[in-house]
């Protein structure tokens, strides 16, 4: 029974076609509560599409998405956010005209159900919480900068901060270190692990850089051509022959 309780997210035969291309092919995946779970695979393996199905950005061709025992396959993104799933975007997708502070504030206002308050002064809410989150991701010095003027690495961190502000149970990060220098990558990974521990988050993330993944993930799922070809702890995935063939070893 204990095993069942720990399942936070489950997909059953999740499938997505784009025309004749089957981008995600009957994927069964379970994410356990408290895990840092990585999805890896070469470019075009279907990682981001799978993400988009879980967060409701795309509607699946077939299959189900179950979150905390509840079928959310037909939920639009904003309802999935309300039940506790949130995501970051691979191509940094932020608010160019809001300041760093305001972006995090908006996330908090939305998650705490104040978004329909028409007359109060927004700036008076959650000052402590905003600074706390900015401190957690290391953006306090840039609090008054506008989104458009941030560096790439800072945009990624801001994105993470906004995502945290929505107080998720399950956090989906789409290539959180994409486009970062090795140093930035390492510090981001340390940050993600720290946040997961401190806030009791469950994290599902995609990555194509293997070295990043093995350092942090407790569980790894390998995608290839839209299918899951391996699933397990880092050692067993590294040992898998299929994975060696398509990913670690080079050309099949």
């Amino acid at each position: 029974m204990g095993e069942e309780d720990r399942v936070l997210l489950e997909t059953r035969n999740l499938t997505k076609d784009f025309g004749k291309l089957r981008a995600v092919n009957s994927v069964n995946l379970t994410v356990k509560k408290g895990d840092i779970h990585a999805i890896i695979g070469p470019n075009g393996a279907g990682k981001t599409t799978f993400f988009n199905l879980v967060t409701g950005y795309h509607a699946p061709t077939g299959g189900q998405v179950i979150f905390k025992g509840r079928d959310i396959t037909r939920f639009p993104p904003h309802r999935r956010c309300k039940v506790g799933i949130t995501r970051s975007f691979q191509i940094t997708s932020i608010f160019p005209q809001l300041t760093v502070y305001e972006g995090v504030l908006v996330g908090l206002l939305c998650s705490k159900g104040l978004s329909l308050d028409f007359l109060s002064k927004a700036m008076k809410f959650f000052e402590r919480e905003v600074w706390e989150i900015l401190q957690a991701v290391g953006l306090t010095e840039h609090a008054r900068l506008q989104g458009a003027s941030l560096s790439h690495g800072d945009k990624k961190r801001w994105e993470l901060a906004i995502t945290l502000a929505t107080r998720p149970e399950l956090l989906l990060l789409d290539e959180p270190t994409c486009g970062m220098s090795p140093e930035e990558t390492e510090s981001t990974m340390i940050l993600i692990r720290k946040l997961a521990e401190e806030r009791g988050l469950t994290i599902l993330f995609t990555e194509h850089d293997m070295s990043v993944v093995f350092g942090i993930a407790k569980r790894i799922t390998v995608f290839h051509m839209g299918c899951v070809i391996a699933d397990g702890d880092p050692q067993s995935v590294r040992a898998s022959e299929d994975v060696q063939r398509v990913y670690l070893g080079g050309v099949a």
């Binding site: 160019p96 028409f118 002064k121 927004a122 700036m123």
Partner: protein, 336 residues
Amino acid sequence: MGNASDTKEEKVLRRALILIIAVGIGLVMPHVLSPFYLMILSEALIMSIFALSFNLLFGYMGQLSFGQAAFYGLGGYAVAMLITKAHFNFWLSLLAGVLVAAIAGLIVGYFCVRLRGIYFAILTLAFGQLLFVIVYKWHDFTGGDDGIQGVFPPGILTSPKVYYYLIFLAFLGTTYLLWRIVNSPFGYVLKAMRDNPERTEFLGINISRYQLFAFVISAALSGLAGALWAPFYRSVAPFYLMWVKSGEPVMATILGGANTFLGPVVGTFVMTFVHAYVLGFTYFWPVIMGCFILLVIFFLPGGILGFALEKFSTSGRENSGYGRGRQGSSGDKKSD
């Protein structure tokens, strides 16, 4: 932004001072201006309400409504018909004008908020023209192209000076209300939607629903502007609903600066007064206005107020030259 030397108190004090001066000027105007220019000032204030309500959608939500005049016109027609045909109480007529515009906004908005960008603009234009044609053709009910004449306000309000104070009060009230709204949590959600609707949806926001709320607020206030105008001008005509009228707040907002709260007011004042002045010696007003807009777009890209704030202000960041901030808002349509 860099120098935070402006403390909070100084900022509040400076704002209060500007406000007191502005209200003071507004109060003495009827005793200073000639009747002609008092009329122009009244018109500018009414059109400012109209432009401010338009800019809630344009500058703060990032959607261009090109059918806003329909709500302005419906507000005016509701008041005109209630006063002339039903001999309704003036104040209740004003309220009815706002309500009619809000209900129309709810119906039109229900369809429009599903769309974004140019599609939203075209659909609002189409609905606006539809309402215009209904008013224009339905002769028995609306008076058709004759419009409605003899819309008199009651008692002392027939004096332009007194009516001016009513308009001034409505202008202050609307401005205050909109100021509260754009700085409220809801206002911040609007700004987030403007910057990046996809991202905002992943904060748990139902985009269509929030855009509809803003659309109804904007329509209601546009209706208030029309409702105030009809008894002031003593008549209404179908062209108040027409797309040409919808273009006025668009131009005024671009002229004044869409990224500043009071930009639409500045733009409206410049347009209305230059219009009145130029008409004194030439009929080619649209040519002059066209050149004017061109000059502003090329040399003052943030609008008059946007440009002035950027040049002379040490604080304030709404006036940055990022234009409409559309960059980087494409979400991640490309997968993997």
